[in-house]
Amino acid sequence: MSMCEACSDRMPAVASGQSEWSVAERDHLAGCRDCAAEWKLVSAAAALGRSVAVDPGVIGPRLLERVRAAEHQERRRRWLRRSAQVVGLAAAAALFLMMVPRRGNGPVRQVPVTAASEAADLQLAELDGAAPAELQAVLAEFDEPEVPASALDGPDVEGLDVSQVERALRSWEES
């Protein structure tokens, strides 16, 4: 490293008063116009704005108050966003649940699934100890459709051509 580079690197420390020039550095500055000009700039920059006074005792409390208020607002915004998401999800779920029975019982389903056939897959522990007559009664109840048969069945399409069938299906779906 040249003496010019060494002096340049040391300038901020000397300008801020953390360090002092060595004799060799001082001699170099006295004889090197480049370094002397740089030193003039660095020492002026180090002094620049020293007369600008800010009071940390005033700024600090005001600043903390702002930071606290901003954080409070941020928490509130996050809470509102999360609440909106939950409400949105709940609405979507409700809409989905409203759609599901309609689709399941619509005309697409060619073979209506009886409650009894689904009941076969159910694990009903409370029926384990039931008497045969009780079981019969429960099974008979499962076999009863929950909604009137007319709603479960599709429209009567026998004897219609394709376009008539489509129209009938559409009007049944819209009903």
């Binding site: 901020p12 300008a15 920059a45 620049l48 704005g49 600008v52 700024i59 409390p61 903390l64």
Partner: protein, 182 residues
């Protein structure tokens, strides 16, 4: 509350960690340590004297709001100067190019000798005007180095460049300022 002994003040990193853990005393200490330096940086970058209080508060506000992102690769001082520089740029844009700066602000130099005072005022005004004419990166690197005493590595980390590039920006700034400041 931060525990500080006179012989061994807490590092900026420890203060930042204490603030993140909810210690407001640590925040007050950070302000005490750096508010003056941020003010000088802003003033030297061209901010008007009457705007300094507001700008310092805004710069520190921005800093505290994202102190979590300061990982200590750059010194806190250089990181704060970088935020202050961005703030000044935003203000300049917000005011649609109108200078946020008043280079002709009255200089208040506390010196007994009127000739010395005039010379100091003249040099300060020239330097401030010269700094305004530099590209932003050169100005900020020069001030972080010459005024704030930051190392090139710190400056590079704060500005997202390399120490070598920071050194080059500094030397370009010095070269240009030598021509502008007599």
């Amino acid at each position: 509350m931060v525990a500080m002994t006179e012989s061994e003040p807490l590092s900026d990193a420890s203060l930042a960690a204490a603030w993140r853990a909810g210690d407001e005393g640590a925040a007050a200490e950070i302000v005490r340590r750096h508010a003056g330096a941020v003010a000088r940086f802003l003033y030297s970058s061209g901010a008007g004297r009457s705007d300094i209080d507001d700008l310092v508060q805004e710069a520190l506000f921005r800093a505290f709001r994202k102190l979590d992102t300061w990982r200590g690769e750059a010194s806190l001082r250089s990181w704060l100067c970088c935020i202050a520089g961005n703030l000044l740029k935003d203000e300049y844009r917000r005011q649609r190019g109108r200078r946020v700066v008043s280079i002709q602000d009255d200089q208040v130099i506390d010196t007994a000798d009127p000739h010395e005072e005039a010379a100091a005022n003249d040099l300060e005004a020239q330097l401030r005007a010269g700094l305004q004419s530099l590209p932003r990166l050169q100005r900020e690197v020069f001030l972080m180095r010459a005024q704030q005493g930051c190392e090139y590595g710190d400056i590079a980390a704060a500005l997202g460049t390399t120490p070598g590039a920071a050194r080059v920006h500094y030397h370009h700034a010095v070269k240009r300022l030598k021509e502008l400041v007599s």
